[in-house]
Symmetry: C2
Subunit: 341 residues, 2 copies
C-alpha cells in the first residue's frame, strides 16, 4: 500500500466539510425554530451528553451556550445514571445529546432517563431516524451524509457549528457575522497541506504529545489530541493552559512535544505566556493559529469561529502523521464506528 | 542525597492523614450546620470551582453531591468569567470553591463573581482566614495544618472526605456507616509500602502512564495521574473507562503502561472488561483495588469511601517512583505551592 492510498476515505470526508457546513449554515433559521419549543423558560441550565469527539464539540458548546444563555452549562456524568441509578430531578433543564450515529446505547439511555426526570431534550445527530433522535423531544439532524472513516471529521465540525448556531439563536455570541466565511476558509486550509506535513515530519518518532489551549479553543485542543491518538497511537493528552500550570507543567522538562493552539482574543496572553514557560522548561513547543511564531496557521476571525478552523488543522495533522508512519487512519487498530458503551 | 532522604516532607504529611481525617470526621455535625444556610431551596444545581488536585476532589464531589441532591452538579469553566466576562445569572445555585491555600487568585475571583451573580457560595480551604474564605458566604476550614510539600496529599484526602460529609448531610449516600474505618484503614495502607515500591520498580523506565477508572473512582484515577506527573515527570493521562473506548483505546497497542483502579460495585464489570480488552490489545495493565488480579490492594468498603483509599495508594506510588528515580517530590522541578492563575 503506498502512502497516498492511506486515509483516502478520511481525506475525502474532510474534503466535504465546506459543502456540509454551507448547507448547515443555511439552516440557521430551521435550527432556531427546532430549539424554541424545547428551551425551558425560565432556564435552570443546560446539560450536555456525549462521548469521544462529540464530547469535544460539547466542550465548545458549553462555552458558547453559557455565553448565550447566562446560565450554567455543563457535561453530564453518564455513570450516575447508567451505573448508580441516581434519582434525579432535571426539571427546568435542557439536555442536549450529541452522537454521530445516534446509536451509542449509553447516550440514548441517558437522554431517555433525563427526559423522564423532567429535562427537555434535544438530539444533535447525523441520523434523524436514529434511536437517539427518537428518544429526544426534538432533533437537529446534521445531514452530513454517511461517515465511513472511523475518525470522525465532517461530523465534528458540523457539531461545532451546530452548537454555535444554537447559541447564536439565543443571543449574539459573535458567530453570526463571521460564520459565512467558514466554508471558503476551510477550503483554503484543505488546499494548504504543506504545514501539517512538515509538522508530521517533526513528530515522526514521538510517542507522546501534549495539546494545550484556553477557553473557546480548548475543545479543539482536546479533539486534536484524540484525532492524533486514534489515527497514530501517539499517547496524547489535552490540557487547558490554566490546568497545566497546576502541576502537569513539570513534564515539560522531559523535552515533551507540545502543540499550543492560539488565536487573537482574551485567551491569547495566557497561552503565549505558557508557551514561553514551557520552552524555558525544555518542552518542544509548536504554536498553531494566526499568531506570530505559528507553524500551522489558520485565518484570523472571530474567536467563536476559530475553533472550527483549528479542528480542521488538527485533522490534517492527524492524517499527515498517520501517513508519515505508514498507518491507515480509515481503519485504526481495532476501532469501530459505533462504540457500544 | 540518599534515597530515604527524598520526599521526607511528603511522606510525613501523608502520615498525618489518619489524624487529619479523624478530626474532620468528628466535625460532621459542624459541616452540616455550615452547609444549611447556603443551600438554596429549591436548588437549581451545584457548581464546583477548583484547579489541580482540588479539582479531582471536586470530580469526586460531583458524583456524591448529585447522588445526594438529585440535581445537576458540574464544574465551572473559569475562563468564561475571567477572560470572556460572561454575564451570568447563577440564582438558585450553590457554588463550592476548593483550594488548599485559599489564595489561588482565579478561584477567589470566580467565586466572588458567581456570588455577585446570585449564587450562594461555600469555600473549602485549609485556611479559614484566606482570601477565598473571605470571598464566600460560608467556609468549611479543613484544618489539616500547614502543607509544605508541593504535591498535596493530606489536603486532598481531606477535600474528598469533606465532599462526602457535605453530601451525607443532605441525603444518605452510604458514606456515614463506612467512614469511621477510614483512619485505621489508611494507617494500614501507609504501613504497607511493599506493593507500591514493587510497582515503582516496574515503572522505573516508563515515560508514559495511563490511569483509568469509572464512576466514583474516576476522581482518584485523575488525582493519581497528576501526582505521578508532578513528582516524577512521567507523562500521564486519566481516562474514564467509557471514554477510553471512544478512540483512545487504540494507544494500547503500543505496550502502554496502564493503572486501572477497581472496586466491587456497579462500575466493576466495566473496568474488568476494559482491562481484558486493553491486555488483548497489548497494553501493560496493572490492576489496583480489592479485586482479583490486583497488585495494589486497599480494603474493601462502601464504594463512596473507596476513592479516599485509592488516593492514598496513588500517593504511595508517586512517592515510591520519585525515590526510585532519585527525584525529590518535596520540590518537583520548578513547581510552587500556590499557582498564580
Amino acid at each position: 500500500m503506498t502512502v497516498d492510498r492511506l486515509g483516502t476515505v478520511m481525506a475525502a470526508e474532510m474534503g466535504e466539510q465546506p459543502q456540509v457546513l454551507d448547507r448547515l449554515l443555511a439552516r440557521a433559521g430551521d435550527i432556531a425554530a427546532r430549539l424554541r419549543p424545547v428551551l425551558p423558560a425560565p432556564l435552570a441550565g443546560i446539560i450536555l451528553v456525549a462521548r469521544g469527539s462529540s464530547d469535544h464539540a460539547a466542550t465548545y458548546g458549553r462555552y458558547v451556550l453559557e455565553l448565550a444563555t447566562g446560565r450554567p452549562v455543563a457535561s453530564a456524568s453518564p455513570s450516575l445514571h447508567m451505573l448508580y441509578g441516581a434519582r434525579v430531578d432535571y426539571t427546568g433543564y435542557l439536555a442536549i445529546a450529541v452522537s454521530q450515529s445516534g446509536r451509542t446505547p449509553e447516550v440514548v439511555e441517558v437522554i431517555a432517563r433525563l427526559r423522564r426526570s423532567g429535562a427537555r431534550t434535544l438530539a444533535l445527530t447525523n441520523d434523524g431516524g436514529s434511536p437517539l433522535a427518537l428518544a429526544a423531544d426534538e432533533v437537529i439532524a446534521l445531514d452530513v451524509g454517511e461517515e465511513a472513516a472511523v475518525p470522525a471529521t465532517k461530523t465534528v465540525t458540523a457539531q461545532f457549528v451546530a452548537f454555535a448556531l444554537i447559541a447564536q439563536a439565543i443571543s449574539d455570541i459573535g458567530f453570526g457575522h463571521a460564520c459565512r466565511a467558514l466554508p471558503d476558509q476551510i477550503s483554503e486550509l484543505l488546499d494548504d497541506g504543506g504545514p501539517p506535513a512538515a509538522l508530521a515530519d517533526g513528530l515522526a518518532d514521538s510517542d507522546r504529545l501534549l495539546t494545550v489551549a484556553r477557553g473557546l479553543l480548548y475543545g479543539a485542543a482536546a479533539e486534536t489530541a484524540l484525532k492524533l491518538l486514534e489515527t497514530t497511537s501517539v499517547f496524547t493528552a489535552a490540557y487547558s493552559a490554566a490546568d497545566l500550570r497546576h502541576g502537569p507543567i513539570a513534564v515539560a522538562s522531559t523535552g515533551l512535544p507540545v502543540l499550543a493552539l492560539a488565536h487573537p482574543g482574551p485567551a491569547l496572553d495566557d497561552v503565549t505566556g505558557l508557551v514561553a514557560e514551557l520552552r524555558r522548561r525544555g518542552a518542544d513547543v509548536t504554536v498553531a493559529g494566526p499568531v506570530p511564531d505559528s507553524r500551522l496557521r489558520w485565518q484570523e476571525t472571530a474567536e467563536t469561529v476559530a475553533p472550527v478552523l483549528a479542528v480542521v488543522r488538527g485533522q490534517q495533522l492527524a492524517l499527515a502523521l498517520a501517513r508519515r508512519r505508514g498507518l491507515d487512519p480509515d481503519s485504526p487498530r481495532g476501532l469501530t464506528k459505533v462504540t457500544l458503551t
